[in-house]
Amino acid sequence: MKANRSKLEPFYIKDCALIAIATGKRAQNLRELIEHLRAADPKSIYYHFWGGLLRPRFDDPEYHNDFGIWVAHSLHNKILAERLAVIDPVEFDTLEDLRNELIEIIDESLDETEFPTWAKRDDQFEFMEHQIVVFNTMKSVQHPLDFVDVLPRISVGSIFYHFIDGRRRNPNMVDDFRNWLTGFGDKYADLIQMVGEICPYFTPLKELRKELTDVFINYFQDQDS
């Protein structure tokens, strides 16, 4: 299939790297967790939901955010851990909404608890933040078809920047791929829908890269046939 080169601005592929920052705020039980959550900078909440994708952390197959992981492993409260783990941050319009949901779920659990458990002193919840450095890779894509070749070779940092971080930068909270494809009008409406069906939260970045690649391959194969 021969690609029609678009007159749109190319899709410039960027990459990013993250550095974690300690805030010095620590929680040893749920009451302390909730107190710090109320006061935490929104970027700290963002970090504990999404930052795990870019920092040294084993992809926990059971609990997908730092709150769930800590409640499960350090407070041994599996019920609350499940309730926290199921929170999908993509569903929330703002980090404030996400914060409120967290507080409500933890508060509810506290209501049900007679004696709140404490974590070991060296196993407290450490509130962290981050800074992200975004840089140009000098690569760009002129046409959506080019993604078939380019996507398998871009870094997981690029996937994070365009597929996850993009949702905070673009109108309607869409990732950079859908945002760019929208510039072609309705032409790629099906492709936009297919990309939108990929869940960014429960999938490690390497798998996200593969899923995105597969979507572009399948879409253009169908167009060919």
């Binding site: 550095i19 974690a20 040294p56 800074q131 840089f135």
Partner: protein, 413 residues
């Protein structure tokens, strides 16, 4: 393959190296200085030996300077080190004067280099007071603490904090180690060097030679712990776990490897206890190896079926990282940095007692497929997270963070 980056690329994947090059490009020509207290021995020197040339290869002019002084200076900084780790020490006033004087002299010697640097990284407490002599420094000064500082002895930390507070930022290895300071506190985990003799691939022949040397039967299961003879590393607990397991798996062998404890009276006591506990069992070897026996330890780790690090208190636990890099599942104490690396049922098991360790040893030795799968996962986890290339990437990211203040997203042009 001449360049160091290329050598690492063959291990980490080329995308990692390309990522570093892109990240470093806008920093080309900057002047970067590291200062620590020794060029030989110890983890900091080991990492700087590789990190400095790598920075230079990326186009960042990086030099490495060293502070040195009279014996009293080292006695003082040894006391600092112990105090930071929570030991209550009484440091004589004269030692503190020597410490400050040595820093002043070094500041004079290094004045030109440090004044012109864009970024100065001061490692650990020895050169921390240098900042006192550069009140109007042009570049960004960062204090890098490699020590477990989770419960410092307050009196000494109060003294050191006076200097550390003047830095533009500090770096700790784990969030648990971070202390309140009036500047940003960055977190950068340590790393291992896959090209170091400790970690390079070695031939089976060499492993067999080491097994022969220490009378280890290659046909029988072997468990290993590599660490100082120190109560926090719980070698007695490891022996207890081994004895509990041996009742069910009589062919089991245990090797404990540590350094010579001659200069450490407490270590000598622990070593004696270990030797008593190991008496009359030819399948239990207690080895004392010199500090440079890297290849021997490498071979022992590779010869093992399972590696233990049953610490009661641990900093990061780079011996865990080293074992995981060699495809070994690790049974580790549920403490410190071991928790970040050992993930139950995935890269090993976290345990709290010798009984817990014994149970997991038995479980793994009965499930060789699982052991193999865990080993593979462990190696990949280290490849992605705990190699020197990740460490380098975080240093580069840190430079931008220092130059751009508190912006959450720093977009480079």
């Amino acid at each position: 393959m001449n360049s160091m980056l290329e050598k690492y690329g063959s291990i980490t994947g080329w995308d990692v190296i390309e990522h570093l090059r892109q990240l470093a490009r806008p920093l080309k020509g900057m002047r970067f200085v590291h200062v620590n207290s020794t060029r030989v021995g110890g983890g900091v020197a080991e990492i700087l030996h590789k990190m400095v040339p790598l920075f230079n290869e990326l186009g960042i002019n990086t030099t490495w300077e060293v502070i040195s002084g009279e014996p009293e200076f080292y006695q003082c900084t040894k006391s600092f080190h112990n105090a930071i780790q929570g030991v209550q020490v009484d440091i004589p006033e004269s030692y503190l004067k020597t410490y400050e004087k040595t820093n002043e002299q070094t500041a004079q010697e290094l004045e030109a280099v440090l004044k012109e640097a864009d970024v100065v990284i001061i490692h650990d407490p020895q050169p921390a007071a240098l900042i006192d002599h550069f009140p109007n420094h042009k570049g960004k000064w960062v204090w890098r603490c490699h020590i477990d500082m989770s419960r410092p002895f307050r009196q000494v930390w109060k003294y050191l904090r006076e200097f550390v507070s003047r830095y533009d930022a500090s770096i700790f290895s784990l969030s648990d180690f971070a202390q309140p300071l009036p500047h940003p506190i960055y977190l950068i985990a340590p790393s291992i060097d896959p090209l170091h003799e400790k970690n390079v691939d070695i031939e089976l022949e060499e492993i067999r030679e080491v097994q022969n040397r220490f009378k280890i039967d290659p046909e029988r299961p072997l468990i290993l712990q590599v660490s100082r003879y120190d109560r926090f590393k719980d070698p007695i607990g490891v022996i207890h776990a081994y004895k509990l397991t041996k009742k069910f798996i009589p062919s089991l062998q245990l090797v404990l490897v540590g350094g010579d404890a001659a200069d450490d009276p407490e270590g000598e006591v622990v070593l004696n206890e270990v030797q008593v506990a190991a008496k009359d069992d030819s399948d239990l070897k207690v080895l004392l190896l010199p500090g440079d026996a890297h290849r021997t330890i490498n071979a022992l780790q590779r010869a093992s079926d399972i590696v233990l690090q049953k610490s009661i208190k641990e900093g990061f636990g780079l011996t865990v990282t080293e074992a995981m890099w060699k495809n070994k599942p690790v049974i580790g104490g549920d403490t410190g940095g071991i928790r970040i690396q050992v993930v139950n049922h995935h890269t090993g098991f976290l345990v709290n007692t010798p009984e817990g360790a014994a149970l997991r040893i038995r479980y793994l030795l009965q499930n060789s497929d699982m052991m193999k799968e865990m080993g593979l996962k462990a190696k990949e986890f280290v490849r992605e997270n705990f190699l020197i290339t990740r460490h380098l990437r975080e240093y580069l990211t840190l430079i931008y963070a220092l130059l751009h203040g508190e912006e959450e997203r720093i977009e480079l042009k």
